[in-house]
Amino acid sequence: MDTLNALANGFSIALTFQNLGLALIGCFLGTIIGALPGLGPSNGVAILIPLAFSLGLDATPALILLTSVYYGAMYGGRISSILLNIPGDEPALMTTLDGYPMAKKGMAGEALALSGIASFVGAFFATWGLVFLAPQLVKVALLFGPAEYFALFALAFATLGGIASKNQAKAALAAGLGLGIAMIGVDGQTGVPRFSFGEVHLYDGIDFLVAIVGLFALSEVFIFLEHRGTPKATGDASAVKLGRLTPPLSMLKQTAPTMARSTVLGFIAGVLPGAGASLGSFIAYSVEKRLVDKDKTFGTGDPRGVAAPEAGNNAAAGGALVPMLALGVPGSGTTAVLLAMLLALNITPGPLLFTNNPDVVWGLIAALFIGNLMLLVMNIPMVSLFVRVLLVPPRYLMPAVAMISFVGIYGISGSTFDLMVMVFFGVLGWLLRKLEVPLVPVILGILLGNQMEANLRRAMTISDGDWSALLASPLSIGLWLFAFFGFIMPIVAGRFFRSKLPRTDSEADPD
């Protein structure tokens, strides 16, 4: 009952005029960002964080804005999948398999409406899952000491790198790069400068917002520049006829069990650290295909093949917030970016968040419910509006994205040096994406590096320098084992999974 009271309190926060307005703007922007090919939820949130920050929003409103963008982008990704056969982001990839064939059959409107409803079902029930599961996880997290946290961070790196990447060595390199960047600046424990080479600007370390915007948003601009003139990432939505925008009742009845199963699977995939929404939609689609595809209609425009991945990826988006809020360990690329937001607002996610800042947590969760309703309304009757946005060519859009990235970072610090660091990270991100080095472990390293080190040193101080203390409790042994297998298993199983996934152009999009 405590949980429900807290949630009710959250609604009283989320239902203020300002917060409702921000949720509405966030949902709208998010849907557009998700719908545009190439700009996924992580890019979208990355561009908007510095903006929300420099506009001086309080913690709760800022979070509401950004999580609305996050949920909105998860909804929007399906629009270009269905209409153009180009996934707006990686989780929407599976939606192309049946969504585009449906559109070609002249059922684009129905496919969009059905996928909108499936997205709603997935996200709505996953948010309930978050309400009940996160406080339970918090109770477990309260048993964690520094040694366990250190192991937990290692687990996050192992699974995020392990599952999301094709090449374990590259994931490890990415994590190392991020952690190394986090070491720049004055050491928190002893106050000595490290890796700053006497450069005053580096004493404060590299601002992770600068790094994130560079790695995600600017590198995207370079990718577009490189592929200019090729049909990659552009399409023609004007040719598609929408048709009716309401799915027939029989279609809803047919897909209801699919949505239910996919929601559960997606949520579980989201909660597991590192798996994220791509795995959620992939598993939902594969299981559904195995269970119900008796007439081999999947892949030819079966409505169940549209409902499954959409319910799955939106449920995963909700699930990924569970470890992010309760443990401070993100479950996906986008939640890693959201974690950056929390840290920028001086809020440390983790078990204490629920006791120290209940307003933030529950206001946010209530806003997710409200945002979902808004998204459902936006995505059924208003979908033709978003379809029109797809007609804006990238040659006008990407310069605006780049300039807004600069505005956001300049707004925070007013420092030319930071802008140059951002350009440096943009180039680095572009190179890493070309070389298929995943970006999420880099971000995670920059975000968690200092905390990881602090926990290691705290654990060592408690044990007086005895390294075996890292493996002293069953909990930490369990976490290390999970981390080990999380890193090793994908080398074996990942090949198998990846070989079954269709090829994608957005291979470097981390969520």
Partner: protein
């Protein structure tokens, strides 16, 4: 080949990082681990993974032809120039130039690119400065 180069550079970076870590000054306040150990662990991680990439490279990625690489380089130069120009020429003028350049390089014909650049700069100025009150760089003309 690209992966081998990356592996080699990664290894050099790791060695440099570890060497720099050993030079970190210890402070009089200290703990059993100190400020050097964790960076050294990271250096080893980077070194080992770079070796693995060096010896087991992936397929060669598709690099763009030289003219495109040159354009990416030019764009980086324009972005750096933009960062320098912001406090000197102000937000609207610098942004109009940078956005027009980007739009042009992304395939817009020159005249339209200039219009796009000016529109983007003024649009951002109106939305973020006039409506939302964000302070942007001021040039000699105040905008």
């Amino acid at each position: 080949m690209s992966d081998r180069i990356m592996g080699g550079l990664g290894l050099l970076l790791a060695l440099f990082f570890i060497w720099q870590a050993t030079l970190i000054k210890e402070s009089f306040i200290s703990d059993p681990v100190g400020p050097k150990v964790f960076p050294i662990i990271i250096g080893i991680l980077v070194g080992v993974s770079s070796l693995a990439i060096f010896f087991k490279p992936d397929e060669e990625p598709e690099w763009p032809e030289f003219s495109r690489l040159f354009e990416v380089g030019m764009t980086v130069a324009v972005m750096i120039a933009y960062a320098y120009a912001l406090p000197l020429a102000g937000f609207v003028v610098s942004t109009a130039f940078a956005a027009a350049f980007l739009s042009w390089r992304l395939g817009t014909p020159p005249v339209k690119a200039v219009i796009a650049g000016v529109t983007i700069a003024v649009g951002i100025y109106v939305v973020f400065h006039l409506i939302l009150g964000l302070s942007l760089a001021r040039g000699p003309w105040g905008f």
